[in-house]
Symmetry: C5
Subunit: 354 residues, 5 copies
């Protein structure tokens, strides 16, 4: 539950900017991939030594360095020094689960976002920190895991499809954020489907485990909001010309991402309203049902208690009880009981107790 609070105690007392990896995810190895491209040119390789990407720094073509796996802080440190990153930037990259944000420096912009996945087995959001450094003509991206999330993007660059090869490094960064925001929609879609299932369950077979489930979704939506809300601010700043590294023609695209982010937040809020409404309906209907049961049981008891009393009366041992002597006494008593029972039933019906 408190997965969003990382162990920060091991960092306390250290000098600010000290590199320590903080995070739950530990990739098997660190994969470093370099792609370099211009309008008519594309080069791509996987490297193991970070120095190999240095020559690309000076080239005027767009260079994309993608690092998957953050547990080896030496690599982050090395690349940080090579590209002149501020110690605090390197710390933020290694110390995962940062709040999404943007920091502008003289030579680059630094952006942190959260990549989200919805684990349908556990009904849980999985978050992975995605940090990106955007320079004049390079983009360095950091992921916690070795993933294929950006393979379609890479493929698009490789094939030269669309406008990506004609645009600069800022468009590459935009394309990555766009892909991440698209994932948010998929997450919402999945949660939406689950919520719909839940809603049907609510009608067909409401059980106590529903409560836990509803609360779980509420929690995940809080979590989602926490990850997406600050991104709104970041994208808005970028789009409104808040950074010198964003060209004007990319702004339109960032405006589009901004609109999508707003839509994600809107939808998440609406889902939360709906889930809260479901909670109310659930609680009301559970208590309604229970009350109905109690009412029915009480009605049954209430009908038999007076009848038992009548039986009790004729069970008394008084010597002189004339009714007991009559031949028709017994059937008459039974009939009387029947009449009393039926009358009570009818009265309850007329009063809508049943």
């Amino acid at each position: 539950m408190v997965r969003f609070i990382k162990k920060t105690s091991k960092k306390a007392g250290l000098s600010p900017g000290t590199l320590v990896h903080v995070g739950d995810i530990k990739a098997e190895y660190v994969r470093i991939r370099v792609a370099d491209y211009g309008e008519d040119y594309y080069e791509e390789k996987e490297i193991t030594n970070i120095e190999e990407c240095l020559p690309y720094k000076k080239k005027s073509t767009v260079t994309w360095i993608n690092i998957d796996g953050l547990h080896d802080v030496d690599i982050i440190e090395k690349i940080g020094k090579d590209f002149g990153l501020h110690p605090l930037v390197m710390e933020d990259i290694a110390h995962t689960e940062q709040r999404p944000k943007m920091d502008e420096f003289e030579d680059y912009v630094f952006i942190i976002t959260q990549m989200l996945l919805f684990d349908e087995e556990q009904n849980r959001l999985k978050a992975e920190q995605f940090s990106v450094v955007l320079g004049e003509n390079f983009v360095i991206s950091f992921q916690e895991n070795i993933s294929d999330r950006f393979d379609p993007l890479r493929e698009r660059i490789r094939r030269g499809k669309g406008r990506i090869r004609k645009m600069g490094a800022d468009y590459l960064m935009y394309a990555m954020i766009d892909a991440i925001v698209d994932d948010y929609f998929i997450v919402l879609e999945k949660i939406g489907e689950k919520v719909e299932e839940l809603d049907e369950e609510l009608v067909s077979r409401p059980g106590p485990e529903l409560l836990q489930k509803i609360h779980n979704f509420k929690r995940e939506l809080i979590f989602l909001r926490k990850a997406v809300w600050p991104l709104r601010e970041t994208v808005s700043t970028l789009e409104r010309g808040g950074s010198a590294f964003i060209q004007e023609k990319t702004s339109v695209f960032l405006k589009d991402v901004y609109d999508h982010t707003i839509q994600v937040i809107d939808t998440a809020e609406t889902l939360r309203d709906i889930v809260t409404g479901m909670l109310d309906v659930y609680i009301s209907s559970v208590s309604n049902r229970l009350n109905e049961v109690m009412k029915l049981l009480t009605v049954i008891a209430t009908i038999f208690i007076p009848l038992t009393f009548i039986a009790g009366v004729y069970g008394m041992n008084f010597k002189y009880m004339p009714e007991l002597e009559y031949a028709w006494g017994y059937p008459a008593a039974l009939f009387f009981m029947l009449v009393v029972g039926v009358l009570m039933l009818l009265w309850f019906k007329s009063k809508k107790f049943l």
Copy 2:
């Protein structure tokens, strides 16, 4: 329920600006209508080939191209290219259920809104995306469905009634938004009537199905708010001179639409407050009624339990029970029971248990 979350997963991985139709509504065919008018001139035709409307582009008269049906993305693409629309604009047109918004470009303004209808059978809002591109002297409008929503407006242009023929393209766009906002009032009116009915039902025959209905209206009002709230922003920007395509004399009219939008939001909020209040009243009154029933039943049981005890006492088989021998024992016992019962009843009455 999650109808407001569109399948976006089929778009993931595609280049931004790729045209894919996303939406539930698929019109039977695509209807393209062109109207061209000046102060003393009116021309109108339905075309099938989008190229036919190109000549109107250069004319100084106001041209209104209305496209009903968005599933054929080729048409959107063609018209987009002809009128120089940005790829993202075309994407937003095809990818329905966008959040209402306004984007200004060099040659045109692009506005997205939601047309709303209240389906009284299902007690549900139906939304349809309405996109409009406003240029110097043309308006291109896109609807998901083939509808007659703008027929009165078209009729007004045709007959040259009112001021519409004397005003520019911006006034035409205004007139369309005005018609859409007028529809919101009709939606509110209908919801209002239904809520009023519900309120009467609440008093006359409160049943468990009311809970579901109340929640349904709450949900629809959340949905309405989600559709209208962002429009407020858009209209406000337009009215305050946020676009070069809006002439000053049209601003007054946009201010009027703005006031109406605020009023819609206000009224929707008030309706929501009222519906929430109804929920509270409903829950209280249901639980009140149930408790009353339980109390009554318990009172009945509580009166008969001591009486049964008395009967039980005289049903004991002790050899020496003097009362049993008396001739008046039985009537005395019955009388005693009556007295006890009546006393209890009176006591309960005095304590206001009944």
Copy 3:
């Protein structure tokens, strides 16, 4: 309940600015009164033909035209044309229950507010739209009803008491808004008294009808807020020099009205908090009382059930039950039952069940 949603459907499809009267209130006839005054001069008459007020338009003295009754849209149209009012202004005048607002035009300012009355019989707010057009040296005011609301003001002008005859048309408009805001205080006072009565009832004789009453007041306070809140904005704009028609010496007075408006909103909010608190107390105390009753009943039943069991035991027909033979068997059994009953009572008391 949904009285605040006017039938707007009959307007749908009409050209904007078309004059149609929308509203519940229909005055018996239309009363038009004209007053014209300067520092040492006063003239007043009731006219039937709107043309009669035209000569006053050019006079440098302050002219106040007061129109009571809006159902005859011809009159609004005529006066609108004479004084050069925008079609949308005329529409807003005729189409009542507009949101309070201010629109500035070249030749005049247009202000809409709601006059409120609290109907103590029905515990309901009654709203009436009050529109006023303030020009260089004239004020045209429109009311839905023929009322004497402004008679004290008229009297003050007539007698030349106070500063009103020395000030311009803007002060006249201010005086009218001030009177309307004063009425809000009276409404609050009345609601406050009713709420106080309710609070006493809550303590002395809480009944289920209180719930409905409390909710009713909550609703009326929502309604009041909806009417007053936007006025705050309007007065604030006027006071801060937002209009060329307001002289600086009148600003101080508008600041005063502004303070009063804030106070009205504040008080309404506090009343709402109090009413909400009453609701909580009511629900708690009702359920508390009911629970107490149920507890008492259950205690009674619980005491008699074991006693009945004992009686049942001695009512068994076993041949060999030694106790039954003893002469003191019966009184002993009765005494035993008494002891059991008393012990249970004491135990319940010690456990604070009673």
Copy 4:
């Protein structure tokens, strides 16, 4: 309860600026005290005729006129005319329970605040309006009651202790507001203590009267907030150089008052959160306790009902019931009942019903 809504109806229809005293507090007589001081000079007297303070107006030393008792509007009017106060200022002084605010005029600043006292007997806040007019070298303060609230301050001036004699009229006004805000802390302290007591009562002996008490404190905190919140704005404006009558060296002190005001609001909010939390705990624990009682009672009844049934079986009058004939029939039946009772008890225990 609605003590914060003053009778304003008696003012309706009067010209704005008409002096009428509105308020609950009526001092026995009107006390007017004048103090005049410079760095090395101090003079003080109580006057009965307001004219006596006129000569001080022109003196360059600081003059403090303190008027206790507002019911005699003639005095306010006279001093108002002497010092050139705006009619609306005089109206605000006489018409108590104004919202705290600040109005700047050419020759003076006018400030209204609420002095608060916590009446520990009635657990109620008592408010008194404090108005102050700050001119170039004079301060006129108005209180509703004859009080000794400012005696320590007066003593400080008299003795020339601290910096007060070296500072101007603005510092005097600051010192008064500071004293008033200090009182808010005392009020909070007292409410805090009461709330702490309540919290202990909640644990030791929760009773239905607690509910009323908790709600009472909630109400008083709403009331406190209403009185303090607008003061924040006023002090903030003064401190940020919003008035020409505040010297820069006094600004630091006003910043201090501002911080205190924020702290008062903060603490009041926190107290409200705590009181709300207590309400939840109270309601939960009351209902918990009640449910426990009901459960216990039901357990008792449930154990005896089957036993009574068994006794009933052996009380049947069938001719051939073999058990009845056995010598050990009766003890066996009793033993059987015992076993059934014990087994049920154990089962309930194992299920944690007890």
Copy 5:
């Protein structure tokens, strides 16, 4: 509970700026430590006479004076005079539990924050006021307690590790605030763990003491928020160049602290949402369980009441009851009861009452 309301009453009536120690914490003695350092130089000593630190004031190296223990106001006064602190600053230092804030003066900036510790025994936050005065080349810090909180920092300076010795006094102040904010994360971590434990307890063994615990955490989170929220503002002002004493190269670091503060607030809010959710789950599940118990008990009673009635019927003493004479009457009656009992059980099962 009301520990956050300090006794301020003893200060009422005193001149503003009068030094009185207000606070719960009283250190054993006052420890004054002075450290003086430049890039290649470090000096450190503990002094008893405050005058000893005066010579450092004029040195261009960074001087850090750390005072632990605030109960001796003379020391604060002396140092305040030596370094030219404003009387209100000295008052704020001595009067603990101030709201975090920043005040800029001509010669120094004054910052107040709260150091927080989570006492795991009592599940309570402990707050200690930390005040710091930042001048051109000196930092004076005040703590309520003698603590080793800044020992790692001191160690870092002593050893000349990291960049601290190369930076100015502003960086030292930053380092201290950074350490304090790091502590907030540790507090959150501990609360998070406790909340997680609570969540497990909620599932495994929900008891009434959980309610109190949950409310306790809610309260502590309110308290935390109250301490951290205003710090956000302070750091934001510093970082955005709000003070002349902050060098630009330190700004980046302050931005980092700012991000951390936001993250603390975010996490605290999320924790509060989670705790609130737990409260709902707790209340629902407790009431659910109780209702289930009541239902089961009622089912048992309801089954036996009709059976007892049947037994009662055959216990009646009518002379002519044919069944009683039959040899198989008794077993038949028992069998009939069994059938009735089983049928009721089955019916209850089919209705899901069990």
